[in-house]
Symmetry: C2
């Protein structure tokens, strides 16, 4: 008598979503097929359609997420750059939704629009809260994104050997100061 409506379906929904994130992260939007996602989840492809309607809505559900940006006002200003790159390194290596979004956003306009929305809704406000000159915030946020996404692109997607080989400590030492200058330079 504890559960009412979603009798046995929530587990299936969750399995679909997890498999979808994996496939979108690995193959991008066009090569990730509903059939392969269903196979990974151990269910019938028709179930994916039943629960999510079509491929586009499935991606929208799988790509919903939060950057979990730290509150910069609680961090010494001198550490902002290093803390941010460290945060994103951890985030990229522990949530494949990041890679799903980037891989899909490069060839799918809806996914690119999703990335622009996340950027505007999460990065901008984080910087506005601690900005001296609000007028420069969009540019600074854009430069920040360019370095962070570029590093992730080279390291996790293109696999450029020297970028893959950089240790987390090295990455923080090299990229921290770059972000620092973009934020308060």
């Amino acid at each position: 008598m504890s559960e009412d409506k979603p009798r046995r379906s929530e587990a299936t929904r969750a399995a679909i979503l997890m498999a979808a994130r994996e496939r979108f992260a690995k193959d991008g939007y066009e090569r990730a097929t509903i059939r392969s996602i269903a196979a990974d989840a151990g269910i019938d492809p028709a179930m994916v359609m039943r629960y999510y309607g079509n491929k586009e809505r499935l991606f929208a559900a799988a790509a919903e997420f939060d950057l979990r940006l730290p509150d910069l006002s609680a961090i010494p200003q001198a550490e902002w750059g290093e803390r941010l790159i460290a945060h994103f390194l951890w985030r990229w290596e522990n949530d494949e939704t990041m890679m799903a979004l980037l891989r899909a956003g490069v060839t799918n306009e809806a996914a690119a629009e999703r990335m622009r929305t996340i950027f505007a809704a999460q990065v901008g406000p984080t910087l506005f809260k601690v900005a001296d000159d609000p007028a420069t915030v969009p540019t600074r946020a854009g430069l920040l994104a360019s370095q962070i996404l570029g590093f992730a692109l080279c390291r996790y997607i293109l696999g450029l050997p020297p970028v893959v080989d950089i240790s987390a400590e090295e990455a923080i030492r090299w990229i921290g100061p770059t972000l620092q200058r973009y934020l308060i330079g």
Copy 2:
């Protein structure tokens, strides 16, 4: 009597290659179809197959190119960063092969391998020629690539509004010093 063998075919080959670059740049590898490329070139899809064998070899032919990196030894060291970002901005806006490679490299392993090869063959040697400590060159080249590709990604592919709105002069002022530090910092 001047031309012998390639009677009327070279113009067709060139038209296919130009159309292929446009389509791969705009749609990425999987969504760019041989049919659409042939239609753009005003010829039959079967001709594309005849000349290039298959889609993979067509992409390989279309993605052959040269970064045209300047010789840093002929430039004052203090200007390296600004000159490099200015060079890449010009390159990105005047050769869609750059975008074809990046868009395709994100979802196609062969294209990613091509990018790694171009990086190793062109960026590395350019820096080695002027390096104080050769041991640090690969890391420096990788960091350079991460910022340049990240800026291009945000500006030309994802279309993040603040990055699109940055003027060429602003981009040089902001990113030049970053590259400078990656090169000689």
